[in-house]
């Protein structure tokens, strides 16, 4: 990835009124190109991603307006398998619109969505779910009066002899929770209303995983949680990754982002101002990118050995 280095190489750009445009182009090139000289990304990625296969999900030049308000413009982003991509940005940056476009709630005005290299049209949430895209919204959408098993199977209950197959559902739910190393719940038959915030998040994620999700989108998964519960959720995200599931995390909390993300995409005012391996960014540079769209600090960061040797311009 060359965006930050390009940034550093052109300090004169930093003060300009419309720098994001140029950066978006940079980011686009970096994210799209699977060309061999894109070495920094390949070397910092975890081994799970196979560079020859198309990414699980590709957004190409996505644009979305609500009336006269342009909420997203020229978003081009790849979501690889087995990696956690963090999407960060200030309020109003377009994070929610972006994930709602991916999960089929909105349809983009411009651009294409590619799923495993093939173009797809996501007109309804069901279109997205059928592909294997599961979105866990901040409110989690759990029924507090039902137990964990009932919530995990809600809308997809197993039925045997015209009755709910409670035993089958309970075994399957326990297996899924065990696979995700969710060990803190006492019984899968307890009401979800009695769970802690982290446990509720775990149930919501487990529900998505149980339905064979290939891409799990988490909207502010740690926003309402304390320290212990946050750790539970971050561990959960790592488990998802290890099961070769692609994860998109929307978050404000840069500590969480840095501890769990493999890649970071920074949105500002509807534009993608930077995308790259998480190791290239520190908290200050992310904040700079979120607020101003550029970061001088990246120039000083020695983390990118090939920073100056970018051949993409």
């Amino acid at each position: 990835m060359t965006t930050p280095s390009a940034e550093g190489a052109r300090p004169a750009d930093a003060g300009r009124a419309s720098p994001p445009d140029s950066h978006v182009t940079d980011a686009t090139d970096g994210a799209d190109a699977m060309d061999p000289d894109n070495t920094p990304q390949a070397s910092t990625d975890p081994p799970a991603s196979d560079p020859s296969a198309p990414p699980l999900l590709s957004l190409v030049d996505i644009g979305k307006s609500f009336g006269p308000v342009r909420v997203l413009s020229h978003i081009t982003l790849d979501i690889p398998v087995g990696q956690v991509t963090a999407v960060v940005g200030d309020n109003g940056a377009g994070k929610s619109t972006l994930i709602k476009t991916i999960s089929g709630i909105y349809h983009q005005d411009e651009g294409q969505i590619l799923w495993q290299g093939r173009q797809v049209h996501l007109h309804t949430p069901k279109d997205a779910t059928d592909l294997g895209i599961a979105t866990v919204y901040q409110d989690l959408a759990l029924a507090d009066n039902l137990d964990i098993v009932a919530n995990m199977f809600l809308g997809h209950e197993l039925v045997k002899h015209f009755q709910l197959d409670e035993i089958g559902m309970e075994k399957s739910a326990r297996q899924t929770l065990a696979d995700l190393s969710v060990v803190t719940v006492r019984s899968v038959r307890q009401a979800v209303g009695s769970l802690s915030g982290g446990q509720r998040q775990a149930v919501a994620v487990a529900r998505a995983v149980m339905r064979q999700a290939k891409l799990v989108i988490l909207d502010e998964p740690t926003a309402a949680l304390g320290v212990t519960q946050t750790r539970v959720v971050l561990d959960l995200i790592k488990r998802l990754k290890s099961q070769n599931i692609a994860v998109i995390v929307i978050s404000h909390n840069l500590n969480d982002v840095q501890s769990v993300a493999d890649r970071i995409a920074v949105l500002r005012l509807g534009r993608l101002v930077a995308v790259g391996p998480a190791s290239q960014y520190d908290a200050e540079s992310i904040v700079d990118l979120m607020t101003t769209g550029t970061s001088k600090r990246l120039a000083a960061t020695p983390a990118e050995p090939s920073a100056g040797s970018s051949s993409e311009h």
């Binding site: 959408a141 507090d144 709910l164 035993i167 304390g226 320290v227």
Partner: protein, 434 residues
């Protein structure tokens, strides 16, 4: 380096979580022993999700009070009378459970049940009566369709069910007057029930021996089902309730069955003739109770009713068709009200335009809420409506027996209903703030 945008929010300690967790969980699946079961159950009672035992305890207290005041209360004749009064309150309470679980209400079913029953009586009028099953079918279909349409209006137009069914109540009263006018133009607003099969729902009985056989078969069947279910869970390596708890439940069912059959089999002929046996109406109530309990507890439809009552948005996102489930629940409430209309007609021997449909429906809501059904949706069981209906019936019957007239009946029912709603609301508040 650490630019923490969002500080960690305060959170409850793990030990506090466990207390809340136990409080909201079914003791069936957490407890390993009878003692632990009792402990978990007690903490649930404090959170308002008490199950049947406090309602039964309240019922026993009220019964003891009335027996102390009037020795006639526990006489066989009065108890059979009480069962008769309780049956239609219970039935209407079960109807209301379907809609209360969704967080809705249906105020029309008191009158729609009378409209249905009027059609039934009309079809059975001599000299050319229709076959009685057909007449019953029409009597059930009319209130079912009426409530189903109300449900459709509530879901499609997103109007509050309280208002829609209040209008429905007036509409049903108008329909009742209109239908009665056509069915029995010279009846003075009353139409008699001419079918002996339907009259026998209340006034016919199983033979004493048959009563014992049916009761024993029912208890044995239910007990076997419980034990098989538990052993299946254990065989699948899942936790099941302790054997002692299951045996206690079966014993309680057996005791209740024996009491009902003993009461029914005592001669209540008051010297004129020998009248013995469990009235058929008891069987009707038990069959409906089992059918609706299975529907709510063991089918997708029932699961969705609870899910919508608990979090409609979650249910919608899970792909559940909210309007279909809601309309179906309203229709089932109407259907159950239709059954009640026929029971009530059998009890009185006729249908009258003077039926207190508005008051009946309030008693039904009272029965359901006293039995533990939440007005906010998502919590409650059919069996609760049976117990709550028994409490309402006992209050009515007992105060009548004391010769106190209508005023204290209304007042005491109001007090009990208010108490039940208070418990419901406090429990909800505690669980949302916890």
């Amino acid at each position: 380096m650490s630019t923490d945008v969002q500080g960690p929010s305060p959170e409850a300690g793990e030990s506090g979580d466990i207390a809340a967790e136990v409080a909201l969980s079914s003791p069936d699946v957490i407890a390993d022993s009878l003692g632990e079961y009792a402990k978990i159950w007690l903490s649930r009672v404090r959170n308002g999700d008490s199950g049947a035992l406090p309602v039964i305890a309240g019922l026993v207290v009220i019964v003891i009070y009335f027996q102390a005041r009037s020795s006639l209360f526990l006489s066989a004749g009065n108890l059979v009378n009480l069962i008769g009064q309780a049956a239609w309150i219970v039935m209407l309470g079960m109807a209301e459970v379907f809609v209360l679980l969704l967080g809705e209400i249906d105020l029309s079913i008191g009158y729609t049940s009378a409209v249905g029953a009027t059609f039934t009586c009309w079809l059975l009028l001599p000299p050319h009566p229709a076959p009685w099953p057909l007449a019953v079918l029409v009597g059930l279909a009319v209130p079912a369709v009426f409530s189903g349409l109300q449900g459709l209006i509530v879901t499609r137009l997103r109007l509050p069910s309280f208002v829609v069914t209040l209008a429905g109540q007036l509409l049903a009263l108008g329909l009742l007057l209109e239908v009665m006018n056509s069915a029995a133009p010279s009846g003075g607003g009353t139409i008699r029930l001419y079918n002996s099969v339907l009259v026998d729902i209340y006034f016919g009985s199983l033979s004493p021996v048959a009563g014992w056989i049916v009761m024993a078969a029912a208890v044995a069947g239910a007990g076997a089902l419980f034990l098989v279910r538990d052993s299946r869970r254990r065989a699948s390596n899942l936790t099941a309730p302790p054997l002692s708890v299951t045996l206690l439940k079966i014993a309680a069912m057996a005791v209740a069955g024996v009491v009902v059959v003993l009461i029914g089999n005592t001669n209540r002929g008051a010297g004129v003739a020998v009248v013995r046996g469990v009235p058929w109406v008891v069987l009707v109530v038990v069959v409906v109770l089992i059918a609706w309990s299975v529907l709510l507890g063991r089918t997708r439809f029932g699961r969705y009713v609870y899910a919508i009552g608990g979090n409609a948005e979650a249910a919608r996102r899970a792909g559940i068709s909210l309007s279909r489930i809601r309309v179906l629940a309203f229709t089932l409430a109407g259907l159950t009200a239709g059954i009640m209309g026929i029971l009530y007609t059998s009890y009185l021997g006729s249908v009258s335009t003077g039926v207190q449909g508005g008051q009946l429906v309030l008693l039904a809501v009272a029965a359901a809420v006293i039995g533990g059904t939440s007005l906010f949706g998502g919590r409650g069981k059919m069996v609760g409506a049976v117990l709550g209906g028994l409490i309402v019936a006992v209050i009515y019957n007992g105060l009548e027996l004391l010769g106190l007239g209508a005023a204290p009946q209304y007042i005491w029912t109001a007090v009990v209903l208010l108490a039940a709603v208070t418990v419901d609301t406090l429990a909800r508040r505690r669980s949302t703030t916890a």
